[in-house]
Every structure is written in structure tokens, then in C-alpha cells.
């Protein structure tokens, strides 16, 4: 936990917060915080801030919190993911939130086994704590929006443009021929990116064609075939890196323009 996250109703107007659960135990036993010490706090889908410890007892930890004026922007990346095996899904939730996705669209596909939809890991009561765990790791407050879709075609034809209005759309495709991610996210720093990741056996031809018809361009990571959770983490890391590079390029251009300007008017 690199950040203590609070539900919106836990942080009252005066900033006084009393914790009695695992967060209190973490502050006591891992951070070993004492009265007067400041720790990082945040409100779920709200601002980051600082909490000054005002009391530590065996039952509770109390904090006096002050929050920033602005709320962090959600990540620029959305994920369209064919529902993986429950064992893989369990491992993925916290990692997806930590890597940073604004939206997770879980979908059926031909090679998704029907019983994958039966798991309790698709219920908010089970996955939300895992998402929050990932946010506390990554120091973010923005909880990914999750939707689950049992009909791939209906999702892609009718719902996807509303859920993921990303201009840049890429679909992971193993093989040497697909373009690298770094060359597929465009150059506009603020463009959202939607990444589609298929089931363990890949999308079938119909699914690939339907995604292509909605603007999804194939991208790859070289010849090695990765397990779907490894692939998901690797792909999101590459997308985020490409997005950061776009932003760095803009910052660099802005600096260059500034220097040119100062040359004209010395």
C-alpha cells in the first residue's frame, strides 16, 4: 500500500477519518506511523491528499486529512479483454488497476469457455477490492469502470463506440507481421487508446474482421507466445510507454519552440 484510499463517505467535510480495518493495521504495523506523521491518502475517484496521524490505538487510527483541489485524470488507456480463465482473472484485476486503465470491457469470444462467466470474480463485490488494491499500489484514485458483455457482436457493433470512444484502437495479434505498439498509437498526446486482448487461443477470423471494421489495427510483441495474463501486463506496459513517449515528444516540441522564440526576441 503506497497510498491509503478512502471511500467518498469516509472523508467528511472536516477531513477527520477514523479507520479500523486493514488500512489501520497497515498504518500501525507496516508504516509504523505515530501521531503527527503524514501519510499519503486519497479518495476513490476523488483527489489525492495528505493525512496527519492524530491517534493510533489497537482499535483504530485517526487521521486529519487535507485533499488537493483537483482530481487525477483517468488513464488514457481502455482495455477490451476476452474473459480469461478465473485463475488468470483473479491475478489480473489488481495488476490492471495498477498499470492504469480507465475502462475494462470484458467480453465473450468463440474461444472463451462458457463457464468462465460463472465465476464470482465478475461480480463488483469481488473485483472492486482487488482494483482498489492495485490503485493503492500505484498511487492512483481512479477506479477502472468495468462492464461484462456476453455477446461480442452486439458489444462491438452497438456499445463499443459509446464505451470506448478512443480514436486509436489496437488489437494484440501474436506474430512477426504485426506492427510494434510504439508505432501504432499515433502522435497526438491526448488521444485515448483502446487495446483489445483476445482469449488464450486468439480471436477467430470473424472477431478479428469485426474489430478491424471498427478501426482496430493489429499490433504485436515479436515471435514469443505469452500466457494471457503475462501478455496483458506486457501489452499495457508497452501502450503506457508509447503514451508517455507521445507526451514527452510534445513537451520537447514545446521547449524547442520556446527556445526558438527566445532566439528571435533576444
Amino acid at each position: 500500500m503506497n497510498l491509503i484510499l478512502l471511500e467518498p463517505d469516509e472523508a467528511k467535510g472536516d477531513g477527520q477519518v477514523r479507520l479500523t480495518d486493514a488500512r489501520a493495521a497497515h498504518i500501525r504495523s507496516v508504516l509504523r506511523a505515530t501521531s503527527g506523521q503524514s501519510i499519503r491518502v486519497g479518495i476513490l475517484d476523488g483527489p489525492l491528499g495528505t493525512g496527519v496521524v492524530t491517534m493510533v490505538t489497537d482499535e483504530a487510527v485517526t487521521l486529519a486529512c487535507a485533499f488537493e483541489a483537483t482530481v487525477p485524470a483517468p488513464p488514457l488507456v481502455d482495455l477490451l479483454l476476452a474473459v480469461p480463465r478465473p485463475k488468470v482473472l483473479r491475478r489480473l484485476w489488481a495488476q490492471l488497476a495498477a498499470l492504469g486503465v480507465a475502462r475494462i470491457v470484458l467480453t465473450n469470444a468463440e474461444r472463451v469457455e462458457r463457464n468462465y462467466f460463472d465465476t464470482h470474480l465478475l461480480e463488483p463485490a469481488h473485483y472492486r477490492p482487488l482494483l482498489v488494491e492495485g490503485l493503492q499500489q500505484a498511487r492512483d484514485t481512479r477506479v477502472p469502470q468495468v462492464t461484462v458483455h456476453r455477446q461480442f457482436r452486439v458489444l462491438v457493433e452497438d456499445a463499443l463506440d459509446v464505451l470506448c470512444p478512443a480514436r486509436v484502437r489496437i488489437v494484440a495479434h501474436p506474430g512477426d507481421d504485426a506492427a510494434p505498439i510504439s508505432r501504432s498509437v499515433g502522435t497526438r498526446p491526448d488521444d485515448r487508446v483502446a487495446l483489445a486482448v483476445g482469449p488464450e487461443g486468439g480471436w477467430n477470423a470473424f472477431e478479428r474482421d469485426l474489430l478491424a471494421s471498427r478501426g482496430f489495427v493489429p499490433v504485436g510483441m515479436g515471435p514469443r507466445v505469452l500466457r494471457s495474463d503475462t501478455a496483458c501486463v506486457a501489452l499495457l506496459a508497452l501502450v503506457h510507454d508509447a503514451v508517455l513517449s507521445r507526451q514527452a515528444a510534445r513537451a520537447h516540441t514545446a521547449v524547442s519552440a520556446g527556445q526558438a522564440g527566445s532566439g528571435i526576441m533576444p
Copy 2:
């Protein structure tokens, strides 16, 4: 299993192989292979090849194998990793082998807890099957070389140059100031890359300085703090992508040079 891997002594001179373990079960139940069907095979640290199924019974599967003349080159990436918690280490072995590392150098560090060294997961009998699982996933035959070091200083000062003679050396460092990986692996396509990944709480100042004195340059992935297994997968994905980009740039240069040449001598 995208590849059936054989121990060197299982593949005799005539290429006849008889399998009775989990690989036979996989060929029977997952691949549903029948006589005459070809499947991908490989010899550990040896060549890839093709196995024609000659018999399938409840007890055994027999294959007639033919192997390529050359052995795949080991990956260009070595990993120096502070020993993680056993739970994390268990998850990492197969993923590291799948992503592709020639050598895994596990080391102590100040923030590695002493009891992390007590796990059976540091014994070859326990980790080798997990590495092989990762290779079977990624279709590679080269088993990462693993060594375990309890003294960081002795490792870095006396052994590292022999173990990892990589010219490009980078150390993961969370934070905005570190350079992106894509700009830190140089441009020479064949240069090996050594990546150092610290413990959950990071390297201490002494460790960072010692690594810097041996040529390790800090690299980062932006502001988000990741769990060490997520970070390891993400970092290796970025290093491999940068290495592939170097190779693609060479191929591009070679093509351009060829075109220029044909222009001169039409």
C-alpha cells in the same frame, strides 16, 4: 503448451521418442493428436523440430522427431533481480522464461528479507520445471541460466562482469526523472542488455551507487509504482520491445542501403 520440450537424453539418434507424463496427456487431451499428425517439438537448450505422432495409447504417446540444424540463440537480455517474496518468485519463474532471459542472477539486497533465501523455490529441482513451462508457452528451447548470490557487493564487484558481460546496463528506478527504456538500450542490434530490478522497497543508496559504478543507468516507467512481479514483466516487455526496435532499424537501414545500391547500378 505451444511446444513439447524434450530432455536431451529423451531424443535418441533415430528421433523416436516415447512420452508417458504430462506431455503425453497434453498431446492426447488438449491437442487431441492422432497418428500421422505433426506437432511442434524441441530439445532443451537444443534445436526446435517437428514430431510426427506414431502411436497414441492410454499409457504413452510416441513421436518420430526431426530437428532443425541450428539451435535458437539465447535471448539478448539478462536479469539481475533482488530475491522477491517466495509467493512472487513462484509466479515469476515461468513468466521470466516465457518473456525471454538468457540469465537470471538472483541477489540479496538490504531490503530483501533474510528468510526469502530459505524457500525451496531457489532450488533447481523446483524452479527448473517452472522455467520449462514458460519455454513451452513461448516456443523457446533455451533454459535461462540461474545463479543465487547472498552477497550483493561480492556479486557486483567480482562476479557480475563475468556472468553478465552486457555492454548496455540499466537499472529500474521508479520516478519521473529516469530515462525511458526505449532510449537507454543503444542502437547496436546485437548488444546484450542487463536489466537490474530491485526489491519491493527499492535498492538503497549504496546499492544504487555500486550499480552505477558498474555502468548501470537508471530507467523508469513513469510515475506509477508497480508490484515487483508486475514491474518485472512490464520492464522485460519494454526491454524486449526496444531490442526488437533496434533490430528492425538495422533491417530498415539494410533495405535502404540495398535500394540505394540498386540505384547506383541499375
